[in-house]
């Protein structure tokens, strides 16, 4: 590998896309698990227990995920700053909407909104998990009554209307981020084909609508069910 790869514009674009792909896969499996929570509390508990205790998930995939998020974030912000500095004097009259979509021009903004949500999400779920499992050393996944705690904890988080509101807002921003991000990642890694690219764009729009909308619906189901 040439030395300059990770410092070059094209190299960084490719790395950005790879982290994006990983996040897309992660989001998909997260969605499937959340979907279980409204179908069967038992199934959700079992899968959560598996994901929370399986060593490969915990010590191989989870660190990669954390790395991908931090990398995506830092690289995204670095690129945004470089791009801003590449045009020190702005146009007095500019019509960017004539040639590009709002989503494509505001990836940093939609990304940062997602980041703010991730802060809340970590505070809600991830930090308590780590605390229970690794600080208190309770790996059982059981509550005081001796039953799996995951479903109960999840439902409990969705009782606060403000939290549910923030959650919905965050997924709207994520939807906008992915509306551009999904197809953009293919282009970045060099995949552009007259026959397949239109299909990828359609798939991207489907993903960007269905997955965030699904998360929102799941949150609302829990909110109105409790």
């Amino acid at each position: 590998m040439s030395n300059g790869f990770s410092k070059s514009s094209v190299g960084r674009k490719i790395l950005m896309a790879l982290s994006g792909f990983f996040l897309l896969l992660f989001l998909f499996q997260h969605f499937i698990i959340n979907l279980l929570s409204i179908i069967s509390a038992d199934a959700f508990n079992n899968v959560s227990f598996f994901m929370g205790t399986n060593p490969i998930v915990q010590f191989a995939i989870q660190p990669i995920l954390l790395f991908a998020v931090v990398f995506h974030l830092i690289m995204g912000i670095t690129l945004e700053l470089k791009n801003k500095s590449a045009r020190p004097i702005q146009y007095a009259m500019n019509k960017p909407s004539e040639n590009s979509s709002w989503m494509s021009r505001n990836m940093a903004i939609t990304g940062i909104m997602v980041l703010l949500f991730l802060g809340l999400h970590f505070y809600d779920f991830w930090i308590p998990e780590i605390k229970t499992k690794f600080i208190e050393g309770n790996m059982s996944g059981l509550n005081e009554g001796g039953e799996f705690r995951f479903h109960e904890e999840l439902v409990h988080k969705f009782t606060d209307p403000i939290r549910v509101g923030l959650y919905i807002l965050a997924f709207l921003f994520l939807s906008l981020h992915l509306m551009h991000g999904f197809q953009s990642a293919f282009q970045s890694v060099g995949f552009n084909h007259r026959k397949y690219t239109p299909i990828i764009k359609k798939l991207g729009n489907l993903y960007a609508i269905i997955i965030p909308l699904g998360f929102i619906i799941i949150a609302l189901v829990h909110f109105f069910n409790h």
Binding site: M1, S2, N3, G4, F5, K7, S8, S9, V10, G11, R12, K13, I14, L79, K82, N83, S85, A86, R87, P88, I89, Q90, Y91, A92, M93, N94, K95, P96, E98, N99, S100, S101, S104, R105, M107, H180, Q183, S184, Q187, S188, V189, G190, F191, N192, H193, R194
Partner: protein, 250 residues
């Protein structure tokens, strides 16, 4: 038609510059945009003022010099045209037209509407060529078979005129469409294979050094490019770059 023009005036590279407002009357809708600017300059000269400096050469859409940002779009509101191919019939009587130079750190203004485009030249020098034997035994290019679809794609890429509209229109001032066209045109042809790997590495390196921004795939360049250069070439350049990086020894 009668127009109000808001034109960027700047004495030299160091001066601050500002938009000036001019009234220009009786412009024919059949004239080209540059002819309209010629009229403005005659008017300015007759009034004893300094004419507006703007770049142009061929006036038929092949040299790529006529770089103007018109009413918020590179080469104005029409598609697939350079400024010299833009007709005044795209505008209406009473319109206000903003005329600005390309804006990018890598393409600084020299005077009024003229920018220094040597950054694009330096990228070309870094690898946008092929080395041929000129000792008298040069192989006849027509004797080398080339797949028709490859020849067509090489031709599509080669139609880039280096106008810089892609940079000007990109929110990141990225030159990737230009560089991708220049990298791709040779990558399809047998003559381009010898220097294929160095070409993409060196040209991308030079592009980064010049201070252009980073592509985020907004696609604005493709829409505004007067020659319809496709984003497919950027994807191709990314592949070329990845492949060349993997095998590079330094």
């Amino acid at each position: 038609m009668n127009l109000t023009l808001k034109v960027w005036r700047q004495k030299n590279a160091k001066a601050k510059g500002a938009l000036e407002t001019y009234k220009l009357n009786d412009v024919s809708e059949h004239s080209s945009f540059l002819e309209m600017l010629d009229m403005l300059n005659e008017q300015l000269i007759n009034e004893g003022n300094e004419p507006v400096a703007f770049d142009h050469d061929c006036r038929e859409g092949i040299c790529g010099m006529c770089s103007l940002y018109i009413n918020g779009e590179a080469h104005g509101p029409d598609r697939a045209v350079t400024t010299c191919q833009l007709h005044m019939r795209m505008f209406k009587d009473g319109d206000t037209i903003y005329i600005e130079p390309w804006r990018a750190k890598a393409l600084p203004v020299i005077k009024d509407l003229i920018v220094d485009r040597s950054a694009l030249e330096r990228i070309q020098h870094a690898g946008g060529y092929i080395s041929v034997n000129t000792s008298g035994n040069t192989q006849d290019a027509n004797a080398i078979p080339i797949r028709k679809s490859d020849a067509d794609k090489a031709m599509d890429a080669a139609s880039c005129i280096g106008c810089g509209a892609c940079v000007a229109t990109c929110k990141n001032s990225s030159a990737m469409l230009f560089v991708a066209a220049k990298v791709s045109q040779f990558s399809y042809l047998p003559q381009g294979q010898v220097e294929r790997k160095e070409r993409v590495l060196n040209m991308v390196h030079q592009m980064d050094k010049e201070g252009f921004g980073n592509c985020t795939n907004t696609g604005a360049c493709e829409v505004e490019c007067p020659k319809g250069i496709s984003l497919e070439f950027i994807a191709r350049m990314n592949r070329e770059y990845f492949g060349a990086s993997i095998v590079a020894e330094n």
